[in-house]
């Protein structure tokens, strides 16, 4: 990426301390997000995607590494920079039933942050601005919604209000944490279409967190994706490439596991057989040695995968597609120079 990223995580780590020991929720994660683009974080529960999102939002201070926003270290002690960062990054939670205050009307919910940050002079102006925001999120006509309480709205409408609230301070980055997972399929797609439009119209960047690869692929098709497993990024690159030709055995297993709305295709997928050696995700308290995926990996190499911790490496020098799996990387390297190896006979 030529331009300076809007947000960058530089080998951030987060260790939580519990009674049962230290929990390494996020380990050595580096991600870049350019202004106006989409980065999807996918993984299962316990993969560290939500913790990473909270670090990106400034809600958690990482125990290691650096978070830069517009080039500045946000935990570096500069309070203006930190405030600026917190205002520019907004979080939309998973559960619209829990994230809105039940005793506040939609107007009060939207006007609160505007007043607190003195973006509006009086109530009329706040009303005007709140109406504009509701139109942005397709809650029209706004008068019908401004006086409503959350319990009078459907799940999809609440989530739109939550997005409108995130927009009140003119953010540069919105972090959407499983924001559509509680909604019905048909509503989900229209909400995602609305978010995509915000990204184009307002130039807002999105960090989109989901366990649903199909959804990540749909929403983040022009952006990047990072696949996380047990606190580490195992595959990272342009969404189209990662989902189109997944390289890490974990990404491949995830993709193969997703059922499609097509019985014939499912039957074909199923006949390919299971791709994992074990169904159980190891505990963060007792992580396997070496590559943490090796006890489940169908193509692990004894003596290598259970010993050394793999690093993310680009598939080839000019690719942005990175994989943390040495056997896969070796295969790629071999495949890239077939002519050469045939000639000198070493293979």
């Amino acid at each position: 990426m030529a331009s300076e990223p809007l947000l960058s995580l530089e080998s951030v780590s987060q260790v939580f301390t519990s009674r049962r020991g230290e929990i390494p929720a996020v380990r050595d994660v580096s991600l870049d997000l350019a202004a106006g683009t989409v980065l999807c974080l996918v993984g299962e529960s316990g993969s560290g995607k939500t913790t990473t999102a909270r670090i990106a939002a400034g809600l958690n201070r990482p125990t290691g590494g650096t978070v830069r926003f517009a080039g500045r270290d946000v935990w570096g002690g500069d309070r203006t920079a930190f405030r600026e960062f917190r205002r520019s990054v907004q979080y939309v939670h998973q559960d619209p039933y829990a994230s809105l205050n039940p005793i506040r009307t939609v107007f009060a919910t939207l006007a609160g942050p505007m007043r607190r940050h003195r973006l509006v002079a009086n109530r009329d102006e706040a009303w005007q601005k709140a109406s504009e925001l509701l139109e942005r999120v397709d809650l029209t006509p706004p008068e019908n919604f401004l006086t409503k309480y959350p319990h009078q709205l459907s799940g999809g409408q609440r989530q739109r209000v939550a997005v409108a609230r995130a927009l009140t301070l003119g953010p540069k980055l919105i972090i959407a944490d499983e924001s559509t997972s509680m909604l019905d399929v048909s509503i989900r797609i229209s909400l995602l279409a609305m978010l995509s439009r915000l990204s184009t119209d307002l130039g807002v960047a999105f960090l989109f967190i989901t366990h649903d690869l199909a959804l990540a692929k749909y929403f983040g098709r022009d952006g990047d994706i990072a696949v996380m497993y047990l606190g580490r990024v195992v595959e990272y690159g342009p969404t189209r490439e990662v989902i189109g030709t997944p390289r890490h055995p974990y990404t491949r297993a995830l993709l193969a596991a997703i059922p499609e709305p097509d019985p014939e295709l499912n039957a074909r997928k199923r006949s390919a057989g299971s791709l994992l050696r074990s169904m159980d995700t190891p505990s963060l308290l007792r992580l396997p040695t070496g590559c943490t995926f090796h006890p489940r990996c169908p193509s692990w190499v004894e003596g290598e995968c259970d010993v050394s911790v793999p690093r993310l490496e680009a598939l080839d020098a000019d690719a942005r597609h990175e994989v943390a799996c040495p056997p896969v990387l070796r295969q790629e390297a071999d495949a890239a120079v077939p002519a050469l190896s045939e000639q000198d006979g070493t293979g």
């Binding site: 299962e44 529960s45 999809g156 959804l215 596991a257 059922p259 499609e260 019985p263 499912n266 169904m279």
Partner: protein, 348 residues
């Protein structure tokens, strides 16, 4: 497999009492479930699918009632009985023995203060006189079936298990007394992708081995495509389409089913067109006249020439009508539903 269905539902109506008067959540559902068959009830929230699932075993909450209809169950000996007229004691013996319910495991379907083994023993003891060692053996058997380690799971409390393990415990419990019918509510919702996959695999395998029939409620169309032999789409308390899942997913004949399928982005390949259905489901307390889907229906608007829904759609709620050998649809214009879902896939 015999020709007689194991469960025959006829014109079933379910009402909930509310302060504003009774609300019909299921408005006359009819379908057959055959031995060993798997039927999916799909639809958006509030369409009545869970209510219908609960009504099949008479597990409705207290404010719910079934003023009309029949749920006829055929025993292994061929005799039949209407569940809705069963007396309490009869019903108690029917549940778990003949048909069992699997609730959504991620939620609070297990008692949090009892060990798994105690909940399992309770279930056995309430229905059968069995020695402690025989009960223990049976628990081991069913836990093995769902690929759980009995020694690890039995002495655990529910909170010590992962969501996927809890769901598998619930399936195992449902199997304790070898029922012939299983009703599952959102069996994979709120679980991780790989965990979902293992639940699906377990259910497929068990169905092959044990031959029970199952009805499962889901909002996930892909799951229905994976796990169901037949699919019933519900909208506003009615079944609006019912057919073999291959037919329904390849050529849906109801615009609502077509819309639901179009709204699912594929994981593999590129879909040419992903779109949502405009609007939301109507309130069951205030249904629009005629076909309740007409206000959201693109096809009806097309036929109506931009003047809102076509006349007949507003005048009459269409009946479920046979359109193919094993395919029924409730739509005035089912012959005009056009559906293509082109997914460009290479090398699956």
């Amino acid at each position: 497999m015999t020709d007689e269905p194991v469960l025959a539902v006829r014109d079933l109506v379910v009402e909930y009492r509310t302060p504003a008067g009774p609300v019909r959540a299921v408005r006359g559902a009819s379908f057959d479930l055959y031995e060993g068959e798997s039927l999916a009830l799909v639809g958006e929230s509030g369409c009545g699918k869970t209510t219908l699932g609960l009504a099949l075993l008479r597990l409705l909450p207290r404010l719910g009632s079934t003023p009309h209809g029949e749920v006829r169950y055929r025993r292994a000996d061929g005799s039949t009985v209407d569940l809705l007229t069963m007396r309490k004691e009869q019903l108690r013996r029917f549940r778990w023995h003949e048909a069992a319910m699997v609730f959504q495991g991620a939620m609070n379907a297990l008692n949090p203060v009892l060990r798994v083994q105690d909940q399992m023993y309770d279930t056995i003891r309430a229905h059968r006189s069995m020695s402690a060692s025989a009960a223990r053996k049976r628990c081991h058997e069913v836990l093995d079936m769902v690929r759980l380690e009995p020694r690890r799971v039995m002495p655990s409390y529910p909170h010590e298990l992962s969501g996927g393990m809890r769901q598998r415990v619930l399936i195992a419990m449902a199997l304790l007394l070898s029922p012939r019918v299983l009703v599952l509510d959102e069996p994979t919702t709120a679980l991780d992708i790989l965990t979902q996959r293992s639940i699906v695999d377990v259910l497929q395998e068990l169905r092959r081995e044990l031959g029970f029939a199952m009805v499962f409620v889901t909002h996930d169309l892909a799951l229905a495509a994976e796990l169901a032999d037949r699919v019933a789409t519900m909208y506003a308390g009615r079944i609006v389409e019912l057919g073999d899942s291959r037919d329904v997913f390849a050529a849906p004949r109801h615009p609502y089913t077509a819309g639901l399928i179009r709204a699912v982005p594929p994981a593999v390949g590129e879909a040419t067109e992903i779109s949502s259905i405009p609007g939301g489901p109507p309130s069951l307390a205030a249904l629009p006249p005629g076909c309740p889907f007409s206000v959201r229906c693109g096809l009806s608007a097309e036929v109506g020439d931009g003047d809102g829904p076509a006349g007949v759609c507003v005048q009459a709620d269409p009946e479920l009508t046979r359109t193919g050998e094993r395919h029924e649809v409730a739509c005035h214009y089912s012959d005009r539903v056009e559906f293509t879902r082109e997914v460009v896939v290479d090398g699956v």
